[in-house]
């Protein structure tokens, strides 16, 4: 039993309620970032990060490993956060950027830019096209699934969107001028953080930051939506605006992530599901936790692909799919009982 605080106790920042959990998650992020920087084919001292000049340690740290770790943090965080936000908006634990078709539509946008060689002329075209693709997928979802989609409608809308995007991507691969560029597209689609530079990170960062802000700012509305749309409206929320914010936020976050890392699926599904019990199942509190959780998962997965001894390095998107798909299967079985 907690004592009732005296009337007049000032309001606190909502985020303080989960401070211990969030601090713990943040510590894990820091730890894994260090590990991510330390892992590689050659042992390189961490001091390479702050060394200036052309020493091999400085080059490996600053131009290979640092962008890789930073991108894992940025892409993982936005994926975890958009999964939590979409699940809150659609009130469905199966919603995820990949499953609703946002990732593949973003990939389509990015592939088109790469295919037509626009990237070399105008690098910004890459994230913009990917974001536009993701936005189209979210719009398609609203159109198909309506405002209160059941699990089945959601998955069907996602399949429709994904196969549409997939078919055009296949066309691009089919028509690729030479086998080399076809293989390039396929490899890029698998999703990886290997061989990325700080330029990639800086390219995606502003869009991601905007997406994160839009998603985090809708937390209270997600809480209200727990009680259904009517009650949420009587609690003072403009649902058209909320849908707009969350749709745009998801598109910005997922689109810019896909633009620099290819499609990495299931992070947005797994992370919120694992963290939900720790935040009392409350959608708003799930948002910051999932942001950090996504960072942890992707950092860990990216360390994993480097440690698993395969002849060619395992692609990050392949690993998350291998782990995520069975997880999804179990989740479908569990929710099938609850939702019709």
């Amino acid at each position: 039993m907690t004592a009732i605080p005296a009337s007049g106790t000032p309001a606190r920042l909502a985020i303080l309620k989960d401070a211990p959990l969030l601090v713990l998650l943040a510590l894990a992020v820091v730890l894994l970032t260090g590990l991510s920087l330390a892992v590689g084919p050659a042992p390189v001292p961490l001091s390479g990060l702050i060394e200036s000049g052309d020493s091999p340690a400085a080059i490996i740290m600053q131009e290979l490993r640092l962008p890789r770790a930073l991108l894992a943090i940025a892409v993982g965080g936005t994926l975890g956060l958009s999964g939590a936000a979409l699940q809150g908006l659609l009130r469905n634990p199966l919603a995820e950027p990949g499953l609703i078709g946002a990732s593949s539509s973003a990939a389509l946008g990015a592939v088109l830019v790469l295919y037509f060689g626009l990237y070399a002329v105008f690098p910004l075209a890459l994230p913009i096209a990917a974001i536009t693709g993701a936005l189209a997928a979210v719009a398609l979802l609203y159109l198909f699934a309506g405002r209160n989609p059941g699990a089945m409608t959601l998955i069907l809308a996602g399949i429709a969107g994904s196969s549409l995007a997939g078919s055009v991507i296949s066309l691009a691969i089919n028509l690729a001028p030479n086998p080399h560029s076809a293989a390039e597209i396929v490899f890029w689609l698998l999703g990886s953080l290997k061989d990325r530079s700080m330029d990639h990170f800086y390219l995606a960062l502003p869009f991601m930051a905007a997406g994160i802000l839009l998603l985090l700012s809708s937390g209270a509305a997600l809480d209200a939506l727990t009680l259904g749309e009517d009650t949420a409206r009587t609690l003072g929320f403009d649902l058209a605006r909320v849908r707009c914010f969350l749709g745009a936020g998801t598109a910005l976050a997922v689109g810019s992530g896909v633009a620099v890392a290819g499609s990495i699926s299931f992070v947005g599904l797994v992370v919120p599901h694992i963290l939900r019990p720790f935040v009392g199942y409350q959608p708003r509190r799930l948002l910051p936790a999932s942001l950090l959780g996504g960072m942890i998962l992707l950092l860990a997965a990216d360390i994993g692909v480097r440690l698993i001894p395969t002849q060619l390095e395992l692609k990050l998107g392949v690993l998350t799919a291998l782990v995520g798909a069975p997880f999804f299967l179990v989740l479908v079985f569990k929710t099938r009982k609850v939702m019709q």
């Binding site: 009732i4 000032p10 606190r12 727990t226 009517d230 003072g236 403009d238 009392g280 199942y281 409350q282």
Partner: protein, 267 residues
């Protein structure tokens, strides 16, 4: 008058749901909306709180049209208890009740002492304090209904709208909820409640509004609205109406001769 609506008309999918309805509410009143299924009670309720927008007519709260109110200010005035509210995530009872304080919270903030006190008062009033840590979906139907009631009370709006709040409750909890609504209406606070149980309506409401086919058939104190003539015309039932010491006792005795339900019942 705290709430005024005139000549409300609304059509959905080609059918006229409300057809020239007027509604007025004074401070401190408990008003019962009664009528057969499909009479337009819920739609009227939704129009009165801005969930549905009438095609014709307007609703004014304290003399100001509903669409002139800022959203959050309006949300602080109106507590709304919908019919069978879903709770999509298995949150703890106390957290669900606290959702009622959302209209009072600045962005990014959790509740102040006032908010927490309001949540505790609402849980006490509905007798769910002992359930505060339980997950909502593990509760019985009656307990869940009381949680939603507490959630609506926590808003602290001066107008409380409840759509069939006693549906599915046992008699003890029906009386508990109606007592609560009755007590809630005092001073500046009023209650509008949709009910099917006519005896409960007669006992707890100061005024009844009887609706049928999108129109108001009768509007007045229970003894004037619940007459054999009205009940036969609107519900198609013969009813025994007895005057008890604590209100009227309305016992449906059978279908009236002229009831459309009687005609459609197979022999």
């Amino acid at each position: 008058m705290i709430l005024d609506a005139d000549n409300l008309r609304i059509a959905k999918g080609g059918a006229t749901i409300l057809d020239g309805v007027a509604f007025h509410l004074a401070e401190g009143e408990v008003v019962g909306l009664i009528g057969p299924n499909g009479a337009g009670k819920t739609t009227l309720l939704r129009c009165l709180i801005g969930l549905d927008r009438p095609d014709v007519g307007s609703v004014r709260l304290r003399g100001r049209g509903l669409d002139q109110w800022p959203r959050q200010a309006l949300a602080r005035e109106i507590s709304y208890l919908a019919q069978s509210v879903p709770c999509h995530w298995p949150m703890a009872v106390e957290r669900v009740v606290a959702l009622g304080r959302l209209p009072h919270l600045p962005p990014w903030q959790s509740g102040s002492g006032d908010d927490i006190a309001a949540v505790h008062r609402a849980m006490e009033a509905t007798d769910i304090t002992h359930l505060r840590g339980r997950q909502v979906n593990s509760l019985s139907g009656g307990e869940q209904a009381r949680v939603q009631m507490a959630r609506a009370l926590a808003v602290g709006g001066r107008l409380l709208f409840a759509d069939e709040p006693v549906a599915g409750l046992d008699p003890g909890h029906q009386i508990q909820v109606m007592d609560l609504l009755h007590r809630h209406a005092n001073g500046p606070r009023s209650v509008i409640v949709v009910l099917h149980d006519l005896t409960l309506a007669a006992r707890y409401c100061h005024r009844l509004v009887l609706m049928a086919k999108g129109r108001v058939v009768a509007d007045g104190p229970p003894s004037q609205v619940l007459t054999p003539g009205h009940l036969a015309a609107v519900y198609g039932i013969r009813a025994r109406i007895e005057r008890a010491e604590d209100g009227l006792l309305v016992v449906p005795a059978g279908l009236s001769q002229t009831s459309p339900l009687a005609a459609s019942t197979p022999a």
